[in-house]
Structures are given as structure tokens and as C-alpha cells.
Amino acid sequence: MTIRFILLVNKQGQTRVAQYYEYMRLEERRALEGEIVRKCLARSEQQCSFVEHRNYKVIYRRYASLFFLVGVDGEENELAVLEFIHCIVETMDRYFGNVCELDIMFHLEKAYFILDEMVMNGCVMETNKLNILAPIQLMDKSS
């Protein structure tokens, strides 16, 4: 019933953001990422956004050149996770202003901060954009 990992991967298969909510060794992570990304990239627009891989269900959505992948286990509501992915994208868009892949790459820590505000320990914590961005904007102002 929880999110196991959130990945942002570009069209060439390079990972841009990787947040894991469970322990996995480094080699396992890379192997996992490689397999899942290959599966998702191979699918077309018409097909389902849900892929089953080992014991996870991976829900993905493509925004321009980035794939947002969320791996869940158990009986999670897939459509709700799709909504959540959209919420992440909108929040980042609000913060960066017309976010694109380069923004995320060059401000990696900010992307992580945003994710941390939204999800904790695999559970969705906050979905209100104002609340999420408040601490981050505060920190930007102070530094």
C-alpha cells in the first residue's frame, strides 16, 4: 500500500531523479532501473500506463521528454497514483516556472526537497502546492 520508489527518467534512459523508500543495494537499483525503463520506453501511447514488474506495479506517465515512474506494491489505487504524478509535475512547474528537464538537472536538490515535502516514507503527505512550496521558498529567501 505504499510507494516504493519514484524515478524520473529521460527518453534515453538516463535517470534524473531517483528516490527510494526502501532499502535496495546500489547494483540492484541500477538493474531495476534499467529493466523498468526499458519496459516503459517500449510501450506506445495507446497502451496502459501500468506495468507489472516482479512484485511491483509501476505506474508511469510521460511529460515531454521525461518519464515519471512510480513503483507501488500491493493494492494501491493506480488512478490515484496517476493523479499524484500530475500533482508533482504541477508543483514543480509552479516552483521552477515552466519546468523542463534541464531545470531539474541543474537544481537537483530543489527537486528532491519538493519530493520530500510531498511524500514521506512512501505515503503521500501533502498535495497543496502552497504548503509544499512554503518552506522551500523560505529557504531560498534566507540563503
Binding site: M1, T15, R16, V17, A18, Q19, Y21, Y23, L26, R29, R30, Q46, Q47, C48, S49, F50, V51, E52, E75, N77, E78, L79, A80, L82, E83, F84, H86, C87, M105, F106, L108, E109, Y112, F113, D116, M120, N121, C123, V124, M125, E126, T127, N128, K129, L130, N131, P135, L138, M139, S142, S143
Partner: protein, 719 residues
């Protein structure tokens, strides 16, 4: 730095750049450079994300956490969460800093600490810091409360004993107004209910509160900050629905209170956007999870029906997924959507196809079997190969379980083998063979239809095997057109043609050694019944005397010997197999699954002196012990016969083998060889040692489909 990495064109170049950066970072850390420490750690995180090892930076994170400034602390905690995990020992050093930060006055710093704790704490840390977190649950600040709640979720997961202390604060959270707190609070409640069953009763009292929250969300007007696509805070709605599901399970009173609001959500939510659909989906799940009244269930199934008809693949997938669960509860309602589901089996998306196939199998009953199987068979022709295997297995399982008549079973299996013979498994073939041998009225039909199918053989092994077996057993039925069923047209097949077909099958490049072995046996059997072709058959059997495959060589030699020298017993040898015991076979198949492990461990080839089993029979030995007394009597008689003084006249010797043959006939392959051995020995006047023979019926795997000779038989043979 990032720009440099991006500029790299090859992986090796990237590794070089990263290595240089790591070296720089290591120097910087050693020099204790305070100013740029947080930037260095940020670089380290980037490198870690690319997949390179970054252990050397862990202490830096700790130092950052200990520093007083907010940005540094922030990066430090982030580094902590990304680079470390709960199993590292370095984590223990952080506990003190965490404790200080938890007590900090600044809400954001406190929040940071909670966040870090929530993501990676281990059970010792959880135990240490639990009292702090509990205190923070009651704090005035909603930001803190929200984070503390989720942190507690993790604590409970790690240390379930602490659950009782958190019950009180948790229910307090549910009264809150702030949506973030509510979201976390409900999650905490869900976690408590899952790990700590007494919590269920505690929270059931909160059901009216939850219903009220949901009502406010559904009915309220436009609230800009929580609005997603026209619906107010869908995430909270979904979470509350899930909590209601947990609370209502098995409790009719609570379910009663919820039914109104469930109906309201189900009817009022707009279904044209994904958000609405997500809520409806959760609602449907909840309706089926609680003790809902019939009307609500009908509503839920209607929603699912609408989902199925939706063009969006995601929605259809989700509907199919839920319907599988619903089928167990209410099959009738799902039957109405059968046609749509069958359409989904043919969809282009593999996830949908798989789900639809599972659902179809769950839906099958005796009434709709024929229609459904027809659809599935039509699709089998068009399916792609990885799906074909699944589909074949499912069709076979369905037919085996629900076939209305044996004739239907045989027909369908024939069609399946023609379309997808490569994917049919051995036990399906076995089942079919048992069935045919027990249905004398179908034998003629079976042999005729399989023979016709073999004429257009494309190399499917299963089809070849079954046809050859049928030809061997019932070849004369084919030639004489016996046992014609109503509506069947008689075939004009000459004996020579049958032999011709067998010969070409054997010569075919696609025939496996197994198949060739069956052809040899079939030819032997036919040699007695087709008198005109016996010369040709004899010649064919001799072809494989020098084959490199042991099984083929052995059979060829033995059968040629039989054909050349032992005319008297040839007829008995080549007689039909007796009907295989169907009931015992089915029950043994049911036993087979747990025995498979034991069988694998059982040593093969242990000849034992007294009526014991053949190779794979160690677990069967238990069963055989029960069967043994009856069989042992027969065997004892036979053994008595063999112990006869060998000075007896050759006629007695000839008669003896006949009796033995009859008794041990059922073991098709192995006994033939042993009997020949016995024959030859008796002719020469030697005594034979007692040997063991497993009456075929006792064998866990009918030797018809043996792939290799019994090792113990080979042992005997060498004796």
C-alpha cells in the same frame, strides 16, 4: 560540474569526469572546507544518483546536519536520506543531532528532522525517539503535526509495540481542519488498524467523523488550493474511503453509517476525468470491502461496467482488475459483461489481455463453456507467441474441468493441438490419452480425426504423439471405419497408407526422439494387425538399429527381435493397452503436486526384491503398499512360475512367458524388454532371478509417456 557530465559523450568519458570530481571532493572533505561543504554534498548526491559509490561523503552529511544554518542542515538531511539507509551504522551517530533538532523551536528544522526520521529510521532509533515524536503529534503547529503523524507511521511499522500509545493522538488528528494533517492522520489510522487489530474498534467510533469529512469534501463549493480538476482534494477523499473500507469490514453497523455517503460519492462524482475515476474506483473497492447492501453493490457493478466500456486503456485495466475480485462475490452480475470482457482478451495491450484472460477463466461455468471456448480458440490462431502459451494452458485447464462430454473434450483438444501444439504440456496429453482409452465409443472417432490432422502436420509434438499413439492402438479402427459416430464421414484409408504416414513422420526432421520412439511402438503393434505390411514394418523397425539415441536403438533391436523370432507371442505383445484407470489417475494427479518434491528427492533406480515399484515411485511406495497386497499375490504366482524347474519342456517354457506376459503386460516399454530377456533365458534353460515389475497402474507417471527407460530396467537388462 553537471555541465561537464552532460557534455560527456561516452560512458567511459563520464566515468573519467566523475572520478576526477570524486577526487576533488575527497580532497575538499579532508580539508574541512566549511563554505562549500553543502555544494560538495549536493555534487555527491548527483554522483550517487548516477550510480557511483559515494561512501566517503557520509561523514560530511553528519557534519552538515550538526551545523546551525538552515540551508546546510537541509542539504545535510537530504544527503542523509539519499546516501544512507537504515542499515548503516553511521546512522546511530545522527541520533543525537536528530534529538536536538526535534526539540528545536524553528518549525522547519523540526520538520526536517521528522522527515529524516520518517524516511530512514531503524528500530532502535525509533524506540529512542518515539516519545519526542509523540509529543510533537500534539503540537500546535499543523506543519509539525502532519510530519509527526507520518513519522509515527514508520515508527509503528518498525516497532509495533508502540502502537497503543499513539491511538489517542491519532484520533485527535482526525478532528483537525488542515487537510495535510487529515491526510497524514488517516494514514496513521490505517497503519494502526493494519498492525494493531484492537485499534479497529477504537476507530470505529470515529466513523461518523470520517463520514462528515467526506461529506464536506463532496458537497463543498470551489476551494482553490485543494482543487484538482473540479474536485476538492481527491487524495484526501481516497484516503478516507480506504480507511472507511478497513473499518467497515465485517461490521454491519459501521457499514450502515457509511452507505449513504458511499452512494453519494458514487453518484455525484464526475467520471469524465481521471480524478473522478480514481475516486469512483476507490469507492467501488470500498463498497465491495464492507458489508454493503445489494443496491450499493449493483451501483458499484454498474460503475465498473461503465469503466469497461471506456476507451481509455487505464480505466479498462482497472475495471478488469476489480472485476476479478467481484466475480468471487457476485458472478451473475459480471456475466452480463461477458462479451465486453471477451473483446478485451483480443486487445492490443498486453496488460489488458492478461487481466481479461484471468477474468474469463473465472467466469466460465458449464453453461457458457462452449461459447467462451469458441472465442478463445478463434483468438488462439491470432495470438502472439508469448501470450499463446498462457492462453493454451488456460484453455486446456478450462476444458478439463468443465467439459460437458468426452467427445467435446477430444474435439477441443484436437483443435488446440492443431493451432498451438507446441505449447501443450505433457500432463494435458496424458489426461487426453487416459480419457480416450476409457471411452471405447470415441476411439474410432479419435483415431480418424487425429489422422486427418496429421496429414497437415506442422511439427507440433503433442499432436504427433497423440496421433501416433492412437494409430498404434486403434489402427484397425481407422482402416475398417469401425465405431463411426453419428454425422461422421467414413475415411478411405488403406493399411499401407497408415504405415506410409508413420514412416514419413519418423523421417521428418522435426520429429523428436520421443516421437520416433512412439512411432516404433506403434509400428510393432500394427505389424500384427496389418498383415499385409509386416515385411515393410520389419524393415522400418530395423532402420534404427544403429541410431545414436539409446532409446531408439534399444527399441529397434528389441522389436526387430520380436518380429523376427517370436511370432507366437507377437500377437499378445502387440495387443491394445487396457483402459487406464481414470479415477485413480485423477486422484493421483491431485496427490502429485505435493509429492513432486518428494519425488525429486527420491533416489532413482533402486531395485528391490519384492514387488516394489519402479524408479520414480518412492512416495508412490506408500500408496503401493496399500495396493501391493493384491498385486503381490499375482506377482507371487508369477514368481512361483519362474522358480519352476527349468528342465520343464520348452512348451511349458513357452506357456510361462505367455502367462507372465499377460500379468506384466501393462508395463508397456520396460516389461517388453524384460520379458524378452526372460524368454531368451528360459529357452536356454537358465533360471532367472526374480525381478521387479511395476504393474502399470501403480506407476505415478504412466510409462506411455516415459521419456527415458527406467534406469532399474537397464540394470536388469545388463544382468
Amino acid at each position: 560540474m553537471i555541465r561537464n557530465v552532460r557534455a560527456c559523450k561516452t560512458a567511459a568519458e563520464e566515468r573519467g569526469v566523475i572520478a576526477k570530481e570524486c577526487a576533488n571532493l575527497r580532497t575538499a572533505f579532508k580539508e574541512n572546507d566549511i563554505e562549500y561543504r553543502h555544494r560538495n554534498v549536493a555534487k555527491l548526491m548527483f554522483i550517487h544518483m548516477l550510480g557511483y559509490p559515494t561512501h566517503f561523503g557520509q561523514m560530511e552529511c553528519l557534519k552538515l546536519i550538526a551545523s546551525p544554518g538552515f540551508p546546510e542542515k537541509r542539504i545535510g538531511y537530504l544527503g542523509l536520506m539519499v546516501l544512507l539507509d537504515e542499515r548503516q551504522e553511521v546512522l546511530m551517530l545522527v541520533t543525537n543531532s536528530l534529538k536536538n533538532d526535534l526539540n528545536h523551536t524553528n518549525q522547519f528544522i523540526c520538520g526536517l528532522a521528522l522527515c529524516a526520521l520518517g524516511n530512514i529510521c531503524s528500530s532502535e532509533m525509533a524506540r529512542d525517539l518515539a516519545p519526542e515524536v509523540e509529543r510533537l503529534l500534539n503540537s500546535n503547529n499543523s506543519y509539525i503535526r502532519k510530519k509527526a503523524a507520518l513519522c509515527s507511521v514508520r515508527i509503528i511499522r518498525k516497532v509495533p509495540d508502540l502502537a497503543e500509545y499513539l491511538l489517542g493522538p491519532a484520533s485527535g488528528l482526525l478532528q483537525d481542519k488542515h487537510h495535510g494533517v487529515l491526510l497524514s492522520g488517516t494514514k496513521l489510522a490505517i497503519q494502526l488498524c493494519e498492525t494493531h487489530p484492537p485499534a479497529l474498534d477504537y476507530f470505529r467510533k470515529q466513523v461518523p467523523t470520517l463520514v462528515r469529512i467526506l461529506k464536506n469534501l463532496v458537497v463543498s463549493g470551489y476551494a482553490p488550493e485543494y482543487d484538482v480538476g473540479g474536485i476538492t482534494d481527491p487524495f484526501l477523499q481516497i484516503r478516507v474511503l480506504r480507511l472507511l473500507r478497513l473499518l467497515g469490514k465485517g461490521d454491519p453497523d459501521a457499514s450502515d453509517i457509511m452507505s449513504d455517503i458511499l452512494a453519494q460519492v458514487a453518484t455525484n462524482t464526475e467520471a469524465n476525468k481521471n480524478t473522478g475515476n480514481a475516486i469512483l474506483y476507490e469507492c467501488v473497492h470500498t463498497i465491495f470491502g464492507v458489508e454493503a447492501i445489494g443496491g450499493l453493490r449493483v451501483l458499484a457493478i454498474n460503475i465498473l461496467g461503465r469503466f469497461l466500456a471506456n476507451r481509455d486503456n487505464n480505466i479498462r485495466y482497472v475495471a478488469l482488475h476489480t472485476l476479478i475480485k467481484v466475480v468471487a462475490i457476485d458472478t451473475q452480475a459480471v456475466q452480463r459483461h461477458r462479451n465486453t470482457i471477451v473483446e478485451c482478451v483480443k486487445d492490443s495491450d498486453i496488460s489488458i489481455r492478461r487481466r481479461a484472460l484471468e477474468l474469463v477463466c473465472a467466469l466460465v461455468n458449464d453453461g457458457n463453456l462452449k461459447a467462451l471456448t469458441r472465442e478463445l480458440l478463434d483468438y488462439l490462431r491470432a495470438a502472439d507467441s508469448d501470450f499463446k502459451a498462457d492462453l493454451t494452458a488456460k484453455i486446456c485447464a478450462l476444458v478439463q474441468r468443465h467439459a460437458p462430454s468426452k467427445l467435446y473434450h477430444v474435439e477441443i483438444m484436437l483443435r488446440v493441438m492443431v493451432e498451438a501444439g507446441e505449447y501443450v504440456t505433457d500432463d494435458v496429453i496424458r489426461f487426453l490419452v487416459v480419457l480416450i482409452s476409457n471411452a471405447p465409443e470415441l476411439q474410432g472417432f479419435a483415431v480418424r480425426s487425429f489422422f486427418q490432422a496429421l496429414r497437415s502436420w506442422r511439427g507440433q509434438e503433442s499432436l504427433g504423439v497423440v496421433t501416433v499413439w492412437c494409430l498404434g492402438e486403434y489402427g484397425e479402427m481407422l482402416v475398417n471405419n469401425t465405431g463411426l459416430l453419428q454425422g461422421e464421414t467414413p475415411l478411405q484409408v488403406a493399411e499401407g497408407e497408415v504405415v506410409q504416414v508413420l514412416e514419413s513422420t519418423m523421417k521428418d526432421a522435426r520429429a523428436t526422439p520421443t516421437l520416433k520412439a512412439y512411432v516404433l511402438v506403434a509400428l510393432l503393434k500394427l505389424s500384427c494387425r496389418f498383415a499385409s505390411c509386416s515385411e515393410r514394418i520389419k524393415w522400418l523397425e530395423e532402420q534404427h538399429r544403429h541410431s545414436l539415441v539409446l532409446e531408439l536403438q534399444q527399441r529397434s533391436v528389441e522389436f526387430s527381435a520380436v518380429l523376427a523370432r517370436h511370432d507366437k507371442i507377437k500377437a499378445t505383445l502387440a495387443d491394445k493397452m487396457p483402459a487406464l484407470d481414470e479415477v485413480a489417475y485423477r486422484s493421483r494427479r491431485a496427490d502429485l503436486a505435493p509429492d513432486a518434491a518428494a519425488r525429486a528427492a527420491a533416489p532413482t533406480g533402486q531395485p528391490s526384491a519384492n514387488g516394489a515399484l519402479g524408479t520414480a515411485g518412492a512416495p508412490g511406495a506408500v500408496r503401493a503398499a496399500a495396493v501391493a497386497p493384491a498385486q503381490a499375490q499375482v506377482l507371487a504366482d508369477l514368481l512361483d512360475l519362474t522358480a519352476d524347474d527349468s528342465a520343464a519342456a520348452p512348451t511349458t517354457a513357452a506357456a510361462v512367458p505367455a502367462a507372465l506376459l499377460v500379468g506384466c503386460w501393462t508395463c508397456l516399454e520396460g516389461s517388453v524388454r524384460l520379458l524378452l530377456l526372460l524368454l531368451l533365458r528360459l529357452r536356454q534353460g537358465e533360471r532367472t532371478c526374480c525381478w521387479t515389475c511395476s504393474p502399470w497402474a501403480m506407476h505415478p507417471h504412466p510409462p506411455l509417456l516415459l521419456q527415458r527407460p527406467h534406469p532399474w530396467l537397464l540394470l536388469q537388462w545388463t544382468l
